[in-house]
Amino acid sequence: MSAAGTITADEASERHDRQGERLRGRIAAGFFLAVICALAIVPVATGNTSFAFYLMLWITLASALNIVVGFTGYLPFGYVVFYGVGAYAAGICYKVLGWPIPLALAASGAAGICLALLLAPTLRLKGVYFGIVSLALATIVRLVIANLPSEVTGGSMGLILSSSNNPTHSYYAMLIVMSATLLCVLWLAQSALGKALKAIRDDDGAAACIGVDVPRTRMIAWLLAALFPALAGGVEAWHTNIIDPEYAFHVLITAKSIVYAMAGGFGTIIGPVVGAAALLGIDHLIWQKFPLINLLLLGLVIIALMLFLPRGIVGTVLKRRPQLRRYIA
């Protein structure tokens, strides 16, 4: 074999491999862009935006949860707390403090980040301990908010944001939040940070041994995973005009975020979008008409997924057909 021949082969394989990586990113970006464009024309094309609005909400929640579960391996069972705090922050800033909506939404995001910083010490815990403590802390936050003076939080009645509603504006606000979430996930998957996070997920000790600053890297993922649900909570409060203390911290919000992301596949970047769209679609078509059966089916879907499809739709496809890893991330 001649030296020149080897070099050409090297260059060819490098080009091939690096193109693969770019291709994967482009395919995911194209897919996201198609989803965003489709959702952007919904209000223009049809009068009914309710389904599309909640699709965006769930894509946001599932994709943001994916940052912390799929990329770092932490399962926060009290994930809903960020959403709830975001909703309350927007509500209180708008209703009680009289801030304009954009500022109130910014406050949602800030509240999510602050709470994430407050809860950051729990990242020292692992596995089941982390999940349970997260759930306990979410319960504490919910109870604290319920015990604040009712002039601030509206007590058990919740808050009603009268006259703030503009369905089209809040629809596009949610679109922006969702797009930002997807952009962030896309960036993470391509960046050194995202790879470092996945390395931490697989073995944090080994990651530290090759120079990854584990606590700092983990913290960035944690903050991102808190920011987007908090913003989504704020926008949803604005959209519906109501903040209900029961609903804002309901465990089902955590449950559905987990299920949707898991159905698509944790750790894959298009998985949560696929999962949310598929399951929410089924939910909308069939289950919504039977609320009780809906809950039962949600539970059964989780069981079935764990038993038969633990890696989710996209994850399983990539496991079975390694050659597709070149195209799908």
Binding site: G127, Y129, V133, L298, I303
Partner: protein, 293 residues
């Protein structure tokens, strides 16, 4: 004031034993199988409904219903084990997978109970004279004392089973070292099913006790019991069968004493803060020897 405090402590101790049983069931399943039974609370409630059904339909008194409940729950979950748990071993992270799987069971079971029994709160009423017993400043409902006595008997039976019988010792051996036990030739698979049955059987019986001690139950409160169970075993040491008792006493007394001075939700906050603080100060729990992850 001190009378009130005493009352709180007595209430706390009674609750503590029952919480301890919830935790013990959870802990056996986790210790032996490394399965985080998120549906434990729903099984507790299901036990209460089962006793309610036996009372309404067949006129069987709750205390008499306990052995039957245990047998039925044990048998059913022994079989359930083989359907649910073995596939988890292939997962990348079996513990987290088990948590999610049992979360699904929890939601399904809660919804199922809601379908069958409706959302109304039920209660298990039994007539005992006198209704209250008074000891100085402390007033205790008779039924609570009975429940306490029964709970203590169950704890004693459980301890006897785990520390004195062959099967119990084998179970504890699995908790300590799963791989070594396999080599020694103990049938891990079958024993795991026994542990699963035992944990859920305990949940069913505990459900009857909770229904006697607390005024009512409904399909919605399962998750609360699960959370209490977790708090208790994290306090006592994850995987330590009797450590749960100590954690439960501590948690229940804190909660009950706090509920004298503050409103109930502040009392719950106190209990949870206690757990979170414990985890950070002593990650192994009060009795746990090593952090189990």
């Amino acid at each position: 004031m001190s009378g009130l405090l005493l009352q709180g402590i007595v209430n706390g101790l009674i609750m503590g034993v029952i919480y301890g049983l919830i935790g013990a069931g959870l802990n056996i399943v986790f210790g032996v199988l490394r399965v985080v039974n998120f549906a434990h609370g729903e099984f507790v409630i299901l036990g209460a409904y089962f006793a309610w059904f036996l009372l309404q339909a067949l006129g069987i008194q709750p205390f008499l219903a306990m052995p039957l409940t245990f047998a039925v729950f044990f048998g059913a979950s022994y079989l359930l084990y083989f359907a649910l748990i073995p596939p988890l071993n292939k997962a990348d992270d079996p513990e987290i997978s088990s948590l999610l799987l049992m979360f699904g069971v929890s939601i399904s079971l809660g919804a199922l109970m809601l379908l069958v029994f409706d959302a109304d709160a039920r209660s298990l009423a039994i007539d005992i004279e006198p209704v209250f017993l008074t000891f100085g400043d402390v007033v205790v409902p008779t039924v609570r004392l009975l429940a306490l006595a029964v709970a203590l008997v169950i704890v004693a039976l459980l301890a006897f089973f785990l520390y004195r019988t062959h099967t119990g010792k084998a179970l504890r051996a699995i908790i300590m070292n799963r791989d070594a036990v396999r080599i020694v030739g103990i049938k891990v698979e079958q024993l795991s099913a026994v542990a699963f049955g035992l944990g859920i059987g305990l949940a069913g019986v505990t459900g009857i006790l909770t229904a006697l001690v607390f005024p009512s139950f409904s399909p919605f409160v399962g998750a609360d019991y699960t959370l209490i169970g977790f708090v208790v075993i994290v306090l006592g040491g994850l995987g330590h069968p009797i450590g749960a008792m100590l954690g439960a006493m501590l948690f229940a007394v804190t909660e009950q004493v706090a509920s004298i001075y503050f409103n109930p939700s502040i009392a719950t906050i106190c209990g949870f803060v206690l757990m979170v603080a414990t985890i950070f100060i002593r990650p192994t729990g009060l009795l746990g020897r090593q952090a189990l992850r």
